[in-house]
Symmetry: C2
Subunit: 548 residues, 2 copies
């Protein structure tokens, strides 16, 4: 019966959207603690449509009575309508508006600046790039520099050597040419060597597909695996909304498995089995299991034992293991260590013919945080050669990923070594960033746990905290009156009171009836005390305002 009500609610939401109306807060939905197999989180997800964003053309935003235009919400692909991406949703649109207001009148609000804690975008908050990486990139961008003697005074000697090495690997030294569809072979060699050094198991450069960040790789795999809504992908809840968005865009079914908040966002095999069986009983063919390790938004780092169980589960159930390992460098606690799923599988004796495994890596995360450069790769193992050729074909349609991103992907997997000119400064920059991130994670976690009605697991890794908000009935009713989810309401109020931008938990999905938000640990250290003060003061007044 419950499931039926939720199904009805979901249909209602979809219909409501199609009619261009604001979402109705479905107050009759029950909020019991145990997670249902298919919850209706989209009923609470924030929509970017409430606010006419800066992307709207000036002469169109006033009215939609442009009846002569051929494209309407009713005629576009409904999969696009269904897709949600709260990390850049309503709250961020409001923040951009407030920022514009502050430019005009710096006293418009009770804060001086907007602090974007919504997205893992380190350099936007002042993190400096790794010097060696940028030196190599500049030399490869303007290769004429390599012929100038003055260059030796401006660049480290190993960056010059590396730039030459990279150029020698590119046919005609042409960094402005399309590369092989999988990326420049020499750069894939460097990536494969880096994987081997990390794992202690062989890696094949022909398994590497260079991508513009991890997201296009995830989309490519979803495109390959999903034919219809009968194809399901097991995804963690809470999840990074790229997964729900990509599954929606490709018309598949997200099969949720719930991480256990009480055990530090534990991933239980019994839960995987339960959800898999439940999905199968509904006629869904589950094609893959997505695992994010370290977790986003949840920040946990999986234990190796747990990873072995996950590998066995995929092997037994015939699932592709989609391993989102973009935070592999971001581990902050001494009792946890990152192990790649490939290393775990190979150490169990599973080879190329035993397990279909795709590992995603990105230059946007780690200590480097080169988000804007859009680079990354996926390592594709355990697919038959004819299926691999299909992946290659799809990669070919898009020609290649950008060469700057490809170069950076090779550099993060083969950074300076002891003895290199840059080595000491590189290590100092890297360690400085990672130890500061660990400190910030700890400070923010402690501050959050001091707030009334807030509990927050530690960030073992990644770049986020995902505290649980225990909200009063009065606060929930206030949200309901504004036709929005309680955590969305809280986050909006937080933004308007403090300028701090976080993402409501409903944007990541969560156990129904629980409320969270995701906050990055990325503001620079000197800003953290003020953020803690503002957050603490806001939270206290919010709790006081809505005390039952």
């Amino acid at each position: 019966m419950r499931r039926f009500v939720i199904g009805q609610a979901k249909n209602l939401v979809d219909q409501t959207r199609r009619r261009h109306k604001n979402l109705t807060f479905l107050s009759h939905l029950p909020h019991p603690p145990p997670p249902p197999p298919f919850s209706a989180p989209s009923a609470y997800s924030s929509s970017s449509r409430f606010l006419s964003s800066s992307s709207s053309s000036s002469d169109m935003s006033s009215s939609d009575s442009s009846s002569s235009l051929p494209v309407t919400l009713d005629t576009i692909n409904p999969k696009v309508l269904k897709c949600e991406y709260a990390v850049r949703g309503e709250i961020v649109n409001i923040a951009q508006k407030l920022q514009d207001d502050l430019k005009i009148n710096k006293d418009a609000y009770p804060f001086d600046e907007i602090i974007y804690c919504n997205i893992g975008n380190p350099q936007s908050l002042g993190q400096q790039p790794i010097t060696f990486f940028r030196e190599v990139l500049a030399l490869c961008s303007h290769t004429a520099l390599l012929d100038e003697s003055a260059t030796h005074g401006l660049f480290s000697s190993d960056s010059i050597e590396r730039a030459w090495k990279i150029l020698d690997q590119i046919p005609g030294k042409a960094t402005g040419a399309y590369s092989h569809s999988q990326g420049i072979k020499g750069l894939r060699d460097a990536v494969a060597a880096g994987i081997e050094a990390r794992d202690g198991f062989p890696a094949d450069p022909n398994d590497i597909f260079m991508t513009d960040g991890a997201s296009p790789g995830v989309h490519m795999m979803m495109q390959l695996l999903i034919t219809s809504e009968k194809d399901g992908i097991l995804c963690p809840i809470p999840q990074y909304p790229l997964y729900s968005a990509s599954i929606a865009l490709h018309g598949g079914t997200l099969v949720p498995y719930y991480l256990d908040e009480a055990s530090g966002w534990g991933l239980e095999i019994s839960e995987l089995k339960k959800q898999l069986e439940d999905a199968r009983s509904k006629g869904i063919t589950v094609r893959a299991l997505a695992v994010i390790n370290p977790g986003n938004p949840t920040g946990q780092v999986l234990a190796e034992e747990n990873q072995r169980d996950i590998v066995n589960f995929c092997k037994q159930e015939g699932l592709v293991l989609l391993a989102d390992e973009v935070y592999q460098e971001n581990v902050y606690v001494p009792d946890k260590k990152f192990h790649s799923f490939k290393k775990v599988a190979r150490s169990m004796g599973y080879g190329e013919k035993d397990l279909a495994l795709v590992s995603f890596q990105s230059i946007s995360k780690g200590y480097h945080g080169e988000c804007g450069k859009r680079g990354g790769y996926m390592e594709v193992t355990g697919f038959t050669s004819d299926v691999r050729e299909q992946i290659y074909k799809v990669a070919s349609v898009n020609l290649c990923s950008n060469i700057g991103g490809q170069i950076l992907a090779s550099l993060i997997m083969s950074p300076p070594k002891p003895g290199d000119d840059s080595y000491e400064s590189y290590i100092a920059e890297k360690d400085g960033i990672l130890s500061s991130l660990a400190k910030r994670a700890k400070t923010l976690e402690e501050a959050l746990n001091k707030l009334e009605g807030v509990t927050c697991n530690r960030a073992e890794g990644a770049m986020y905290l995902f505290p649980c908000l225990n909200l009063s009935k009065k606060a929930i009713a206030a949200a309901e009156a504004e036709k929005t989810a309680p955590d969305n309401y809280y986050c909006k109020r937080l933004l308007k009171a403090t300028g701090i931008v976080v993402v409501p938990g409903s944007g990541f999905r969560q156990v129904p009836g629980t409320w969270h938000f995701r906050c990055t640990i990325l503001p620079q250290e000197d800003k953290i005390p003020a953020i803690v003060d503002r957050l603490t003061a806001f939270h206290k007044s919010f709790m006081d305002e809505f005390r039952d």
Copy 2:
């Protein structure tokens, strides 16, 4: 009856593919001159699956008996199987194999090198990048250079100024941060100003979506407009296969309209109307008209009068006009001029509320040819604000296009001006490239027209020639015996005899029973005589071998 046979043939092809077998050459298909409404070009399209490409993992390529692996050709998304992209298909895979062989044994074949004329990739064939663009890119890649006095000796003063200007437009000067989902606002301002200067009509930076090349923009619009095979997109035949690939991947129907080879690849409104009506009579909702101007692979430049008729057609029929204008700088004949569709529409009095028009631009083409940098934009006009917000949302899921590509997109739309330090060298580089391309186009066109049984329209613009091959029955029978299309057979033989890589016309679709190939005009001038000699000698011996 004919249509029925073709339909049957197409089904047969699809089934054959699903069974992992090589395509059967359907010899019973008639080859009459007039184009059918829905031809079966895929029966002849080259497949990348014949050759185990370098992307295959070594331990998988020997056998596909990996029965324990979960993903097979039978279980992947059939839309992926259906998609074809001949520009990097079978012929290119063979070429890569030959190139590898030549590395091991330089006497392996009767030629020293592979000459890639398959793809519009100028810098891979020796075209040098524009110095000013690369200077700015290097300075923005490694901003510490801007603080060094030695930099002034290495860079032009306007590149330093421009780099500062760009950095000032990026919040925190962080070129390593994700930007606004549509791209950095200041760079979009520069693009909009460039469009205004080009067209003489206003352009709004909020209409600009920066993209990683034009391809992702085309995919985004297909994703928006296509829900099922009942949604059709009118595409020119011959067409750049990105369109057929993207429509296949999104599950829509390509509604072909045939360009008239006899009138220099003319685009006739009567043909558009005929094909539109025919598609509608089959229950297909035609959503958009794709026009490539200058043409790819056909090289024609549309007359303004013709463009006005196209605009009126879209307006009357309620079609989105998808204007692929990536070759707008590549016009080589004095009697033709590029006019953007937006300029044409605005000059007719059609504004934002009258016509849905998307213009695609790329940094990969023009005189700059920065393919590997993956940059471009689409200018989206004539959509309601709620639909625009959906486009924005989909752009947000991918976070942003790469910043290097964004910077280059702003530079090609706002290059150095008279009086700037770089202006004279910039103009010399630009004019040198464009006049050389014009010369190469003319030389190759004349050489092709001298070949027996070959006719070739002039390349008025773009980067390609698309000659028609009049092949003998004996040659066609030889292709049939090898289970391949006659033009594919010709191109393979050409490659193996000369090392010259071109793309068979069947990869672009063509009037059934006609055979073509696409050859770029991009090899450097000093290579052209040898290419002409080798092509001429090969063609003569091919014609002699297969004389009826």
